[in-house]
Amino acid sequence: MAIVTPGERLGLNGEFIASHGTVEIGDHIYAAVVGTVTTTPSESDGERLIIQVVPKSKRNMAASIPEVSSIVTGKVLRVNPRMATLSIMVVGETPCADNFQGVIRVQDVRATERDKVQIYNSFRPGDIVRAEVISLGDSRSYYLSTAKNELGVILATSPAGATMIPISWEEMVCPKTKVVENRKCAKPVDA
């Protein structure tokens, strides 16, 4: 398949709907990254095809930076009664170039009974958490939410050093000491 490089003209914007890895300048659509061109039929616009340029390897993946509604994975750095601070390491499936900072505020931990949430019973420092970006946040942090079943703690280590096992959506147990700790656990997608 032909490989396009940035600046290569792909077609008129009357023919295609520009998507990832492309850029519209005037009437034309150009490639914005190195990769292969793919076109898919659009659901909303029957006339035009969606055109995008797909980079081959993850290393060349365009801009793995958090955007609103992307699913991110990160490590809890610190907690306080109002929020948990995360270091975002992975956006979607792509590890980021550098860690981004995000916070999960107490009201964004879960969808129900928000007033009863206690951060310390949801996250502990060192936990690996999967969350969704809800806004670009302030100048320091992205705002994240775990208010969905499949979001929350995916990996936690107990004080004894063992990887804890989730036993319900809000509890995890240490296989060594059998101590039960509270967490906002994520529901495994493919389990």
């Binding site: 993850k58 994975t73 990160g74 490590k75 390491m89 992975v90 499936e93 792509t94 590890p95 170039a97 550098d98 690996i128 995916i154 990996l155 994520a186 495994p188 997608v189 493919d190 389990a191």
Partner: protein, 275 residues
């Protein structure tokens, strides 16, 4: 359970990621044993603004050393002793772990170690032009272009290969009236090296309840390396030229010296083949 692809897993849980390789005695970069090395590749003479230069690759690590010869007045205490000034630079270009600006503790300590080794390797008196008046000073600048571990090993290797590649003018004339030195425009005289030091770095890792050596750890493998030891061995005589290490059981230290001696011979041949 959650399925994570390898990149993601490595990113969020580097220790567990490397532990699993360790348990099987293999390495993420494809090496098949804890004690196997990345074979260095040496190219010399690519930078023509230098009296000598060498590019060394150890796995993905790439380092370039350029040597420039200038003339200086020797110190009064040692009137025939020349100078070798070696600096290691790990610019922000070579890895995201290094910040632009002044060199950090890691860079400085490598510079210092390399300097202490090279001073005993070069025949400093051979750099004398006119006793008490003029000597050569060899500025060796070792710039990392890609950093994947083996800082000390690669830096010293690049330095020694570049020194072997260094040529000085065949004819130098010191003028006592104005203190200047004139040199012929050809570069043909090699410098005398007394030794050919080769550094070998080992990490100490915990596996299967005991501690063992891991040869040539990469930057990523640092996650599980408790401490490290670099052993410098002269490839020509087999003598030791320095050990720099942290917490290590005595028997592992002895083992590392034996292994480093073997490796120095092999690497010495690679450097010896370069011109």
């Amino acid at each position: 359970m959650f399925r994570l692809d390898p990149d993601t897993f490595k990113r969020i849980h580097p220790i567990e990621f490397h532990r699993r390789f360790l348990a099987n005695g293999i390495r993420p970069d494809g090496r098949e044993s804890l004690l196997s090395w990345r074979t260095p590749v040496v190219h010399t003479g690519s930078i023509t603004t230098c009296n000598g230069s060498a590019m060394v690759r150890v796995g993905a690590t790439a380092v370039l050393c350029g040597i420039k010869a200038e003339i200086a007045v020797p110190s009064a205490a040692e009137p025939t002793r020349g100078f070798v000034v070696s600096n290691v630079d790990l610019p922000a270009l070579c890895s995201s772990n290094f910040r632009p600006g002044a060199p950090g503790e890691f860079t400085q300590s490598i510079s210092d170690t390399v300097q202490s080794v090279v001073e005993s390797a070069v025949d400093m008196d051979g750099l004398c032009i006119e006793p008490d008046r003029a000597v050569w000073v060899l500025y060796a600048d070792i710039v990392f272009l890609n950093y994947e571990g083996a800082a000390m090993d690669a830096a010293l290797l690049a330095l020694m290969a570049a020194l072997r590649n260094t040529r000085l003018p065949s004819k130098t004339v010191y003028s006592p009236t104005d203190g200047t030195v004139r040199a012929s425009s050809d570069l043909s005289v090699p410098i005398t090296l007394k030794h050919l030091p080769v550094a070998s770095t080992f990490g100490v890792v915990e596996a299967g309840g005991g501690r063992m050596l891991m040869a040539d750890p990469t930057e990523d493998e640092d996650a599980i390396v408790g401490s490290r030891v670099s052993v410098v061995v002269d490839a020509l005589s087999g003598d030791l030229m320095g050990t720099f290490g942290g917490h290590i059981p005595l028997e592992l230290l002895e083992q590392s010296v034996v292994l480093a001696t073997q490796r120095a011979k092999e690497v010495g041949q690679i450097v010896g083949a370069s011109k």
